[in-house]
Amino acid sequence: ANMKLILILSALIGASLCLETFVGHQVLRVKTKNEEEVKQLQLLESLEHLELDFWINPSAPALPVDVRIPAGSVQSVKAFLESQGIEYSILIEDLQDVLDKERQDMAESAQRQRSTGSFDFSAYHTLDDINAELDHLASEYSFVEKIQIGESYEKRPLYVLKFSTGGSNRPAIWLDAGIHSREWVTQASALWIANKIASDYGTDESITSLLDKMDLFLLPVANPDGFVYTHTSNRMWRKTRSKIPGSICVGVDPNRNWDAGFGGPGASNRPCSDSYHGPSANSEVEVKSVVDFIKNHGNFKAFLTLHSYSQLLMYPYGYKCTRPDDYAELESLGRAAANSIRSLYGTTFQVGTICNTIYQASGGSIDWSYDNGIKYSFAFELRDTGRYGFLLPANQIIPAAQETWLGLKKIMEHVRN
């Protein structure tokens, strides 16, 4: 009876959300043998009337090309491939069947989660699950509010959790994660940290005195379009998903797009590059929304951002290799934060300016925030140092979040004082 209810529920939800139907859509896996065949596929990609959706784009002969084909185009695409002698296999016979099953699974899982009542912080989640948890935190704690500061390129809301125990426009701390979508430990850690702060207010002396004086704004998924893409198509996607005029490549590196030394060394002007800075500073709505929000607020004292991997704790500058005016204070605070991080599990973070520690990189967020008067600007690169890299096992999420939180706390305490 429960099963039937779930099926009816998911059908109703599907109908009410007016979901696109994929009946008869097939997903083919195309195995290219050489550059010539890759070019043929790129030609196919450019024929917009076919409405092909490449899950893995044709780029190199070594990689398979996965493409979703609407029902009406299936026969003609197959005929084209066969006439060119290009090998393919059918990954998914009917996409709608797969989606129906998935929706059913997720409904069952959601029902299971609702009945146990807790979010699994030691697992990686989808964007929808993360947004649901943000709603949950906001509803459970009176001093936590979910606000929307803008929309992504593909029109997904940019949600920020505001932690505020009162006052009016108190001095504030900014914390974001997931600006580079493949850095999954950062969005996951941000969720854990949000929950930690919310649940420990009132009992933890440090958090309580912090929130009694200052507000905290946390953006757990700064690049939702990229994040969804890492779930659905390419786990290694880094950039936004904006279409670039005049290019078949997609997306801009959002951490080269800020107005700080924009277009300088350490960013690429090629749209297909993973460090493409974009057509102009703040061209990416994901970046502009944050810039506008922070400028309008006018009272931010710290700007903290989470990345992975490499285990680094950095402060400005990245766009130039000279020390910031507040070098001594930032270096010393950075060292103190790194010591706090190490105290928990022995994880060592290197401290220094971006340019000295990692590489020269222009258009970065903490350079922008620092040059706009936010002195305490730090960028973290979380675990690990390369063994798993972006694919950090889920069982390391909580240890990574715990140690990172100690470092953030150290910085926030200094800002508060």
Binding site: A60, A62, L63, A123, Y124, W184, T230, H231, R235, M236, R238, D253, S268, S273, D274, S275, S310, I358, Y359, G386, R387, Y388, G389, F390, L391, L392, P393, A394, Q396
Partner: protein, 168 residues
């Protein structure tokens, strides 16, 4: 700096065995990056001081397991999106690291920093001789450009003879 030749680096390294964290081994290395040469790999001389752990038992067991497979092993996405590696594929993961070491060595300059990001695809190829052959598609992450690029590489391995990349 060596005039008209390139840049030479003298390194003292400590190796940590990821499967036996308490065990470290010291080694020294000399690395020569050739001047201006875009197609030449750096010269590397390495001396290991001390002994590496013996893995004879595990090597033999893995070798026999693969040799006795009816169908050639095929696998994808190691680790998967969540960082998981099924235990029976862990040795393949480790061999992929070896293969990535070769690719990284061949493609490194003083301005690159590579890591193995993921084993996208691996296919075993049965051979008439005693070596195991694995054809890999590896994703390498390059830190400076931030690109994640696929590389095809074949690795041969034998429990006594060790690993090598055949020159095709």
């Amino acid at each position: 700096d060596i005039d008209d030749v390139g840049h030479k680096y003298y390194l003292e390294l400590e190796l940590e065995d990821v499967l036996d964290k308490d065990r470290t081994v010291s080694c020294t290395a000399e690395v020569l990056y050739h001047l201006g040469s875009k197609t030449s790999a750096p010269d590397v001389q390495l001396t290991v001081q001390g002994e590496l752990r013996s893995t004879e038992e595990a090597d033999k067991e893995f070798y026999n397991r693969i040799r006795s497979l009816e169908k050639e092993l095929v696998a994808e996405n190691i680790p998967d999106s969540h960082g998981n590696v099924p235990p029976e594929l862990e040795p393949i993961h480790l061999l992929a690291w070896v293969a990535s070491g070769y690719v990284i060595w061949q493609n490194s300059t003083e301005n690159t920093k590579f890591h193995l990001a993921q084993v996208k695809h691996v296919k075993q190829v049965k051979r008439n001789d005693e070596d195991l052959q694995f054809d890999f598609v590896l994703l390498l992450h390059e830190m400076v450009s931030q690109e994640v690029l696929p590389w095809e590489v074949t690795l041969l391995w034998h429990p006594q003879r060790g690993a090598r990349v055949p020159q095709s």
